[in-house]
Amino acid sequence: MSDENLDEQKSTGVPAPEGPSGLIDTDYVIGQDNIAGNRFGLEVDLHGKVFTFSGLIILAFVIITLALQNEVGPLFESTRVWLTQNLDWFFLGGANIFVLVALGLIFTPLANVRLGGANAKPDFSYAGWFAMLFAAGMGIGLMYFGVSEPLSHFGSSMGGTSMEGGARTDWAPLGAAAGDQDAAISLGMAATIFHWGLHPWGIYAVVALSLALFSFNKGLPLTMRSVFYPILGERVWGWPGHVIDVIAVFATLFGLATSLGLGAQQATVGLGYLFGIPSGDTTMVLLIIGITIIALGSVTLGVDKGVQRLSQLNMGLAGLLLLFVIVAGPTLLIATGFFEYLLSYAKNVIPLSNPIGREDTNFSQGWTSFYWAWWISWSPFVGMFIARVSRGRTVREFLIAVLLIPTLISVLWMTALGGTAIDQVVNKGLESVSGASGDVQLFEMLSNLPLGMITSTLAIFLVIVFFVTSSDSGSLVIDAITAGGKVDSPKPQRMFWAIIEGAIAIALLLGGGLSALQAMALSAGFPLTLVLLVACYSIIKGLMSEPRAA
C-alpha cells in the first residue's frame, strides 16, 4: 500500500497497529458474511458460505469413500501418484522458490518490519512460541521417521543403482554410494535432513509470514484468502476467496483426520510391541477417542493454557528423549556426525533439490515430491497456527525461528536417532533394527539401549501427545477459517471440529479408506502450491509497502 493510503487511514481516525504499519484500506468488515446467533441452543458465529461448502464437501467425500471404496480408492490414489510423478518438477521447483524467498528475506532490510506494527509486543515467550510452532510443524513425523528414514536411505544408497529399460529401478538418492559404507551413511543422512530441513520449514514460513503480515499489519482477517488481496483486491471477499478457504479447510481436516487414523494404527502396533496390547479395532478406536478428549480439553483451555502448555510438555519430553539417546547411544559419533551430516546436507542440497533431469526418479518422485506435497498440504494449518502466535516478532526474528532453528533441531534429531540406529546395524551387528517394520524401528532402536522399556514408553507417550497438539491447533485453525477469520468465535465451534476429526478418523478406520482420503488430502498440495507462489509475491509486495523502521 502506498503512503497516500496510509495518510488516508490516519485521517479517517483508524489508528495503525502499534507503531507505524501499512493498513490496507478496505470496506470489508470482518464477520460481515457470518451467520451469528443461537442455533440449536448453541451460540454460533460462522462464515455462511465457507462453513457450509466445507461441511458439504467433507461429508460428500467421507460418504463416497466409505460407500464406493473399491471404485474411488484407486482413483484418489492414482490422482496423487499422477501429481507427484508428473508434476514433481512443479513441487520441487516451488519448494526451492519458497526456501530462497524465506532465506533471502533474512538478509534484506525488509526483515526489520515487525509483525503487528513497529511497537508491538510479542504475545508469547520465546520458549512457548517455539514449542508451539515446532510441535504443530512436525513433531509427530519426527517420531516415526527419525529412525526409519535414515536407515532406509542408507540401505538403498549401499545397494547402489540398478537400471531397467533405461530407467533407474533403485530407490537410492542421487548416484547412490554402492558398497561404500561411510559415503552411504553420509548420503543417507543428507537425504533425510533434506526432507526435514530448510524446505519443509521454508514452506511453512512462507504461509505463516504472509498470513501474519496481512493480518497483523494490513488489518485483513486471519484466513488464507487475505494473502490474495494484492492480486485479487476486493474480489477476495467473494467466490475466489471462498474457494481458497474451502481448499485450506479440506486439506487441513482430511490431513489431520487421516493421519490421526493412520497414526492410531501405528501407535497400536507400538503398544502391541511394547505391552502386548492387542492391536485390534477396539484399541485403535479407544486411542482416537482418548486423543480427541484430551484435544477437546486443550481447545477449551485455549492457545495460552491449552496448546502452549501441551506443546511445552512435549518439547521437554522430546528433549529428554533426545538427550538420553545422545548420552546412551554413540555420543562421539553423534557429536561428530552432527557437523559431518550438516556439511553433507549443504553439499548435496542443490543436486537433491534439482527439479529437472533427475535420474533417481524413484527417490525424487517417491520420496521428495511426495514429502513436498505432504508439507504443502499441511501448510495452511501449520502456517496459520504459527502466524497466530507470532505477533510482535520482527520478520527476521520470525524467519530465523521458523526456518533456521527448526532445521538445526531436525539435523540433531535425525543424527541422534538415525545415527544411533545405523551405528547399531553397521558397528554393533544388531540387525533387529533394520529388519523391523517402520512402525517399530524406533522402539527396536531404543530397546538396544539401556532402560529400553522406560524410553519406549516415553516415546509412545510422546507420539500420543504430539497427536493431541496437532488435533487441538488444527481445530483452532479450521474454526478460524470457517468463521471468516474471527478467532473469538464461540467455544462449541472449535469443539465441533475436534470431534469431527476424531469421528472421521474412526469412521474411515472401521469402514476403510484412510489411505485413499489421505491421498486426496495430499493432492490438495497441488492447488496449494499455486497459493504459496502467490503468497511469495504478496509477502514481498506487502513488506515493501510497510513503513520502514528507522
Binding site: P15, P221, L222, V303
Partner: protein, 139 residues
C-alpha cells in the same frame, strides 16, 4: 457501599448487554461509584476493530459516552489476547484486582443444561472472586 464497578463489555454485541449497562448505570448513580468498562480484544483483526489499538480507542469513546448517561466518573480497560474465547474469564478476574473493583455487573444468558459442562462467563466469575457480582439476565 460500592466505590468501583467493573462492567465487562463486548463492543460487537452492545445490544445484548443493554440491560447490564442500564443496571450498572443505575447502581453507579445510586452509590456514586466510578465505572470501569473493560473489554478483551483479539490480536488479529476482528469485527469491531482491525487493530487492538483501534478497539481501545473505541472502548474509550464508549466509556465517555456512558459517562454522559449516568454522570459518574468512568474509565476503560482494554486487554489484548491471542485467544479471547478461552482467556476471557481469567482476564476479567485479573482486572477485578487490577482496578480494585468491589462490584462486577455483567450480562449473562438464561440457565441451560449445557452450563454443567460449559459454565457461562458470569457463572465462572461469580464462583472465583471475593467481590460482589451482579449477573443480569435477558428480560
Amino acid at each position: 457501599m460500592f466505590k468501583k464497578i467493573l462492567v465487562p463489555v463486548d463492543l460487537a454485541h452492545i445490544e445484548a448487554i443493554q440491560r447490564a449497562l442500564s443496571t450498572s448505570a443505575d447502581l453507579a448513580r445510586h452509590y456514586e461509584a466510578e465505572v470501569c468498562y473493560m473489554a478483551v480484544t483479539t490480536s488479529t483483526p476482528g469485527t469491531v476493530a482491525r487493530t487492538p489499538e483501534e478497539y481501545e480507542q473505541k472502548l474509550e469513546a464508549f466509556a465517555s459516552g456512558q459517562e454522559a448517561v449516568h454522570g459518574q466518573k468512568t474509565s476503560s480497560r482494554c486487554i489484548n489476547s491471542p485467544d479471547p474465547t478461552a482467556d476471557l474469564d481469567g482476564l476479567i478476574l485479573k482486572s477485578i484486582e487490577a482496578v480494585g473493583a468491589d462490584l462486577v455487573v455483567m450480562a449473562t444468558h438464561l440457565p441451560r443444561h449445557l452450563d454443567a459442562v460449559m459454565p457461562s462467563h458470569g457463572d465462572r466469575i461469580a464462583s472465583h472472586t471475593d467481590v460482589s457480582v451482579f449477573l443480569v439476565r435477558p428480560a
